[in-house]
Amino acid sequence: MDENQLAGYADKNQLPPPSERIPAIRWLKQNLFSSWFNAILTIVSTVLIMTIVFGLLRWALEARWEVIPANLKLLLVGTYPVEHLWRVWATVYLIAFLLGFSSGAHGGLMRRVSTTAALVSVVLAVLPFPWGTRGWLLGIAVAAVAGFGLGYLGKGIRWCKRLEIASWILSFPISLIFLNGVGGILPVIKGRTMWGFMLNLIGAVVGIGLSFPVGVLLALGRRSKLPAIRLVCTAYIEIIRGVPLISLLFMASIMLQLLLPASVRPDLLIRAMLTITAFSAAYMAENVRGGLQAIPQGQYEAAYAVGLNRALTTILIILPQALRIVIPAIVGQFIALFMDTTLFGFIAILELLNITRSIMGNLEWRGTIFELYAFIGIVFWILCYSMSYVSRRIEKTLGVGER
């Protein structure tokens, strides 16, 4: 026991409480065998765990895992042409760079996220991929480190933060245009309804990004004192929330062209994106409304007292506070939306889940159904679990529910 630790105690003779460590036997007794009922539960669950673990192990050792590496490109980016794959990598680099930049400028949670991303890319690069892929993977870490350096240098500069926010917002349309191509400069990639897992990610990002402004407006409308606006917003939110997403997708696939003039014929992917935005906006509105309701009346009154009008009060005082509170809820909605993008298969879009059907249809890979579903499950699980972990951390740092 060193001096510093003891210095905090008033009486030097008084020792700190005994450490929490308890012998293993007593821990077992307390946590697993405290009563006969508990002992039975322990034994039953041990048997259950053993059965599951051994069953999974036996299956995993016999499974034909080669189906995954052989079709990895197809699963992740679908029919995206190989000679244009650098665009996908460049988009990933852009995001990694921005993550690094933010972590350099802020530290904290951002730093942990970007460090994890960089580490994962390095670990993946060690795996036996082709050498070209390994090089691309290492590039992610390089981009993150470069971003980190720049962010760290620019920490003190005043316009740095604005630049950061602007580049985050701009990065999404830039990535989408980059992936899709623009007439004249970058060739437009054909068959964009067949991009595999990339479509799941794009769907969720576009859905959240576009539905955010709409959702905020709907939430404000639902809380408006003007009955006409309130009624329309409430009706929209409740109708959308009352029907399943699949019925909206069905509507988008067969009815949207009936509601638009003959000259406007958006393609399937755009219709799907519009649908998921319209769907997500209603849920976003309810999340934001929750944040708005958490703002105490005093904030409004104080803002009016210093002479702000309604609009300015909402924009400058209420929304910044309300949106800060709902960040975890929005992350949760993003996760839900990300998982919902698997429904795109219903309208013949080849996203990750739907593209596995074409692999299963291939004679060479017959009977690999468990391997493929396991792969999909693991990919979604890792991404969703880590996102919900980050969201819980944000919740803690924001101190939501503690004020």
Binding site: L41, T42, A228, I229, M339, G367, W381
Partner: protein, 393 residues
């Protein structure tokens, strides 16, 4: 002086907030109405181009497609009835799924709070795994991987105690079926129910007057069982008979058959929703502070009474609203049935659309059906919520 201030006439009407509000709302409504009119006009033009007209008369035409489960139905029935069969199938899967999910959720939710370390971790693992994998992936797993690939053919079916048979054609369970004398026994059910309700009401009123805690539901249950039991002996012949699935030459006969689609949808939906309900139950129990339980024990209530009179009413108040939205989610998620071939209303609706080409009408019908179910559930839940709230100070 004061007159000048109070007279609002000095404010011109274009700066009067009250007038501006009305004008603003009218402008908003005009914009919305124009948008809707534009869409409907496009619809009219487009439909005319295809030579179609909105009408629901196709519902009286013969459906012509088979539905393999649910109410008695044949392809010669009309479209409208086929859609009704779909609605009933949706309600069937939702109700059974809700019951199962609630059971799973309650058990797992309590297990997460267990003081047994292993049980706690196991329940936590279940929740984290199930919640972070898309429902559709889980449904496909149950349907394509488990039911259609892993399970054996009818000949070498897996036999569970019961006997329950798991095969690639579905699940066969023993079941009770009403026999010819069921009609006579039905009178005893009615009498028993009436008596049980009367006993419940009187006993509860008595307990209220005496200001004593008690379990009137148990008394009512006993009465019901007594009447039903007496009826069983007084009726000639057994009113209900057990039918057990037996393997005949090609398939099982007797018992209750659950189709592969139904079974995988039921398992998938209840496992998925159960994980969410578990979190709700856990939060609800944690929301009741320890002091409440201790105080109730201190005033001398028995353990069962503490749970029923102190903990549950407070926990339920936290649990009910999110639980209601989970029930709604399950009902809406049952529309994924279309992707694994169960004939719910979505599936029947799209089939009718494929047969008749009536897009607008079918979408209206499908959406209206889901909205009605959502509205009914939330009305019911709001009513229940209000009743629970009255308990508050």
């Amino acid at each position: 002086m004061s007159r000048k201030v109070s007279s609002s006439h000095s404010v011109p009407f274009w700066r009067d907030v009250r007038v501006l509000r009305v004008i603003g709302q009218i402008a908003f409504l005009v914009i919305i109405a124009t948008g809707i009119w534009w869409l409907l006009n496009n619809l009219r033009v487009n439909l005319r181009a295809c030579g179609l007209k909105i009408s629901f008369s196709f519902l009286r035409n013969t459906a012509g497609f088979p539905i393999s489960e649910g109410l008695p139905y044949s392809p010669t029935d009309v479209n409208g009835y086929a859609f009704w069969v779909g609605i009933v199938n949706t309600i069937r899967i939702s109700v059974i799924g809700i019951v199962l999910a609630t059971i799973i959720g309650t058990v797992i939710g309590i297990a997460r709070l267990s003081n047994n370390w292993l049980v706690k971790k196991l329940a936590g693992l279940y929740v984290e795994v199930v919640r972070n994998i898309p429902l559709l992936v889980q449904l496909f797993f149950w349907y394509f991987a488990v039911m259609l690939t892993a399970l054996p053919m009818v000949k070498n079916s897996i036999k569970l105690p019961g006997p329950i048979y798991l095969t690639r054609r579905g699940v066969y369970l023993p079941w009770v079926a009403p026999t010819g004398s069921f009609g006579g026994w039905m009178w005893y059910i009615i009498i028993g129910l009436v008596l049980a309700i009367a006993v419940y009401v009187f006993r509860r009123a008595y307990l209220r007057r005496a200001e004593r805690p008690g379990f009137p539901l148990i008394w009512a249950g006993l009465v019901l069982i007594l009447v039903l039991g007496a009826g069983w002996f007084l009726t000639s012949g057994n009113p209900l008979a057990l039918t057990i699935p037996v393997l005949k030459r090609f398939n099982f006969e007797g018992g209750l058959w659950l189709s592969t689609s139904f079974t995988s949808l039921l398992v998938g939906l209840s496992v998925y929703t159960g994980a969410f309900i578990a979190e709700i139950v856990r939060a609800g129990i944690l929301a009741v502070s320890r002091g409440q339980t201790e105080a109730a024990r201190a005033v001398g209530l028995k353990k069962a009474h503490v749970l029923r009179l102190v903990v549950l009413p407070q926990a339920l108040r936290v649990i009910i609203p999110p639980l209601a939205s989970q029930y709604l989610n399950l009902t809406k998620n049952s529309s994924l049935a279309i992707l694994i071939g169960y004939y719910d209303l979505m599936n029947v609706g799209t089939t009718i659309f494929n047969q008749t080409g009536r897009a607008v009408e079918m979408i209206l019908l499908i959406m209206a059906s889901y909205l009605t179910m959502s509205l009914l559930t939330s009305l019911l839940m709001n009513y229940y919520n209000r009743r629970m709230k009255l308990v508050e100070r």
